[in-house]
Symmetry: D2
Subunit: 361 residues, 4 copies
């Protein structure tokens, strides 16, 4: 991972700011002869798109993706990858830069704008510039391409905690995820979240969340030793999502309380000759290499710093000010992070599949 | 990060197995004209070395490091870096491969050996081969070189939880860390850990832990946007340590329960013209870029899979067996992960300092 | 260098095919606070643009570049870089895919189309797809950005040989380069080339060329040892240009005939404290590191394979055919390679400046 | 390529100076389950070893390679790769640093020592430190490992010109290469070189050379578009060899004089269904991708700067001095560059095979 590119053989480079003319991505290293339609990528983008419920920012972005290269169109919209880089472009439509006029010279506490200014000595204050969650649209588009590389792998994400509300895993239902505006797999918790987040939203506040992403049918053997571990790359990929402050694999931080006996996933001879693990504390990864079990990752998303309550801060001259943000924002950015987490999982797995195939034939 | 190399401008490549003739590292990209002594690297290694208390493996490795290149010796042992790659070598001394005879053909539940075999179709069963914690000695040596690049940055690690025992942060005392065999900053908790881990050890069991690493005096501005974020690279670096299953920055997973008001670190004008943050939920990183606050990371280490209690597993032929491990092992591998976490922090910060200086002049 | 990205800290990724909707580039790692205008990039593109004389392809491409990200516009067209990736886009306008109908199923001898098909099992036959010289427009745009990073470095290219015609170095005049359609620094040779290339052009044939690129005011110390040598990276960069089959630094292949006495550039104490070299056989690079002398590189460009004369070949089914190309083409692609060579030199030097600054402070 | 590492999936990192304790390499990404013996690597090293005739430096280095990791020994010396990094080490034995006492403070004209000093502000003057040809021993060792990855590919190098003497290609005989001390394929030219180089040697002078490396049975499809071209990587790899000033593929610089008709390699339907090319001006690479034809590369090696004739130079204080070198040196370093060129070809092809297999399955 370097600057704005991630991946090794399956490589994704993104560019673009929240309030510039466009955002885009280059997906490089995609194998040839894979087929898809522009609508497949669009469908993935639509899942992440803002403004679909009152619980996400009211910015209206159609997020129409244009595929600029790397494919041959059969004339009926069926695209075949050629092995060359796939250029993707989305024009920004609904930028209201004036929303940001009042914070142009101030730093929002908890926001990256002060860090960018400390680093670069210049910042694009409109909507957070490059640090905006808008960049994640391109990850979702890239993730749709990545999914072509690993067609048998099923990747699904879910929001498993929001503020004080945690789901009950006994009620986990993947179908439920698409039935509520939170990607929540527990219908009871989803109901609670609705009331809870309405309160947050009306108060002009925001709240954190935890997302879980599960990849099933992952081939065994993905991941390289030591610094190219599958979980190391997953950690970097998930931590690179805006507002993420923690990443777990399998049992995660809970392992600190486990004994060796409790933690070790016992193994039996599976019916099909593959090892059959009796539990999945490991989250599908041992020694940085996939075992064939579902790969399970979780990440924590902090509440957005764009809130109505005035907070103490400074401005670009160093003078002390109070800052509150009136722009359109997500009361819980964790919600829209669900498809982004899925996309990052897809990209990491696609990359590691190609790398493994390269080294191992 | 790729295979066995990490870093971009400050690059570390390691090699070597637990029970082969030697382990080694190449530190590439180190700036020229830095001075140190072999003893400085050795001192760092001695902190991590096994066999220093009854709570770590009884394997006796002097871990004497040889510096093969990249420096000029003034004749009195003062070494000056030349800008060329620094080769480091440690001979393995106390390999008792016979300890592993009984598990040569079986897979330890929770251990990487099955994953390596699934990946490569061959494994070095002696002591875990490449997946052994022995590799981390080279990280510590590399970390000592990295520290030369960031001389003003103070990096300290501590074990903050072991099994059921968590430290009381009100009692945190950095000096205490070197007074007990656990790198524990809380003298009361350290006492409890002693009795607790004796019990684990005598039962032939093992236990997990949580480590915290804090870097002070980190310059603002380190970290690149999106996929080269400081916290993204830290997450990858810490997750790459053996047995780590979770990584947090700042408030970490706790952010899921925070509101925007609670999470945002307010800012005042500091006496010296720098921004003064009133709290550090961010862990010193906003938008992937350091703010000048202490960088705070935590990681969870699972209990080692090498335990005496027989566990259900399979062997290389797929037959069902019971496995228990009689070799010398750490009842809590988290202890020796403390200096390794410090080393990874040093390597990541050194790399990002060079990268920032490169792009920003 | 990897797939479609080159550079380490100053990184350029390109995408797009000759006959797709657009070509584009992402310039990542550009330092912040550099100022330029869109017209500066456009001017560089205009130098390379086809259709400006009868000696280049008659394809009419305005090559209007759009700058999509990474800059702040002051409202009057002055752009300031922000340190984030600069997205560049050029829409293709004058695609006449039907020109290629007759070669859709056949392989042009000497052309990359058969190689792409052997590799990917699919190819974009229209205008050579990704292997078209059209991709080099993006390199020129990226080179204009790179030049901002090395403002004092003066980079100039010239065509020094075309077929049987070689320039006389005694007549070298940089001003002459912009006065003839060949970028030729020798007015006498330029005159000869005009008649010579008219003959080639009318015969539907093509011819090779040699380009020389000179960078003056290059700081000493750029280049990393062994595999990151300045001349190693230059060699890769120049060889990556379409149709290039050879690269030389300084005296180049002529060194094979020199003795040590003839080859060594003697050194005297310069007036300003810098070393003064009495000759420049080294081409400004010793041991892979710049010495402060002008960096001199040459590269040979083969004649395009798109010619009217029928040549023996096969088609995609393996059947033997005769192929001739009727599309619009350059009788000497070497001509338009001059600005491309300059751009690659700029990108390599910018990258190495950032790398050197990173490691050396 | 970066600093001291090259390759993408098959990665080689080298370290060590001419007069330090040892030189070494880490070969990372080698596929598992390949078998070889230490003697195979040693045999490759022995070909490059100095002191085997009066025409190479009289430094006596046994160059005994130690294999430190990445393999399992069956007890009888048969080594099986495990997929983990292969550590290689050679101890320096015959360092006579006093030979360099007289040039410790002066810069040899044409040598990298001044460039290293300009870059790093410090240099290891003993034997050229890192810029010594001694580093190439590790490339040869790595090349022997690379050859395991491409067992069917036959790579052979030859010296085709030395000073004024060029070989007659009509007399090319690969068997002759091992019968003379020059790796010269033409017995008549080899005889002439003997007398010629004796003259150079006795005069304390040195001379340049041209090397050709040919790889046969290279699979079609190796090489990635644009910046990961097979010939681009070859150019970087060969230019990275000490003293190389030019690289050619196929017809090389001669293409400048060719018409499209002369340059295009015509194609017929081969007996085995593969395309059959009627000539090989392309040197086996079209559009950066291998075609199945032999890959042919040439490179020019300058004469060593270590000569007896006094040359004008300066010392580290900037004072003007005369420099002559009395240490042991090669009158024609091009000779020992032959096995190094073969090794670089092997490494590049191995890397591209893995990359191709990764992307293309």
């Amino acid at each position: 991972m370097s600057h704005n590119t991630f991946g090794h053989l399956f490589r994704v480079t993104t560019f673009g700011e929240s309030h510039g003319p466009a955002i885009g991505a280059v997906v490089d290293g995609c194998p040839p002869r894979l087929t898809f339609r522009r609508e497949d990528v669009q469908a993935a983008l639509d899942r992440r798109r803002p403004g679909q419920s009152r619980f996400t920012t009211q910015r209206r972005e159609p997020d129409e993706v244009e595929i600029l290269s790397g494919v041959i169109d059969d004339g009926a919209g069926l695209l075949t990858t050629t092995g060359t880089p796939i250029g993707l472009l989305i024009r920004n439509v609904d930028q209201r830069s004036k929303d940001y006029a009042n914070i142009a010279q101030s730093y929002r506490p908890g926001h990256a704008d002060i860090a960018y200014d400390l680093k670069y000595g210049v910042r694009d204050h409109r909507g957070g510039g490059r640090s905006s969650a808008r960049e994640t649209a391109m990850r979702v588009a890239a993730g749709a391409i990545a999914q072509l590389v690993i067609p048998d792998v099923v990747i699904r994400g879910a929001l498993v905690a929001m503020g004080e509300i945690e789901i009950d895993r006994a009620r986990w239902d993947w179908d439920e995820v698409d039935r509520n505006p939170f990607f929540c797999p527990d219908p009871v918790a989803a109901k609670e979240m609705e009331a809870y987040l309405d309160g947050i939203r009306k108060a002009g506040s925001s709240i954190g969340a935890v997302i879980e992403v599960v990849a099933e049918n992952v081939p065994a053997g993905l991941g390289a030793p030591i610094y190219g571990k599958l979980d190391g790359d997953l950690a970097a990929a998930l931590m690179s999502i805006n507002a993420v402050k923690g990443v777990e694999i399998g049992a995660g931080f809970a392992v600190a309380r486990l004994t060796g006996e409790e933690n070790a996933d016992e193994i039996r001879a599976g019916a099909d000759g593959h090892p059959e693990f009796l539990s999945n504390k490991a989250g599908g990864v041992l020694g940085g290499v996939s075992t064939g079990q579902p790969v399970v990752a979780r990440f924590a998303v902090k509440p957005t710093s764009s809130i109505l309550t005035p907070r103490r801060s400074i401005d670009a001259t160093g003078a002390e000010v109070e800052v509150s943000t009136k722009g359109r924002h997500d009361p819980c950015v964790g919600i829209r992070a669900v498809p982004v987490g899925e996309a990052m999982m897809a990209c990491v797995l696609a990359d590691h599949l190609l790398r493994h195939r390269g080294q191992n034939g």
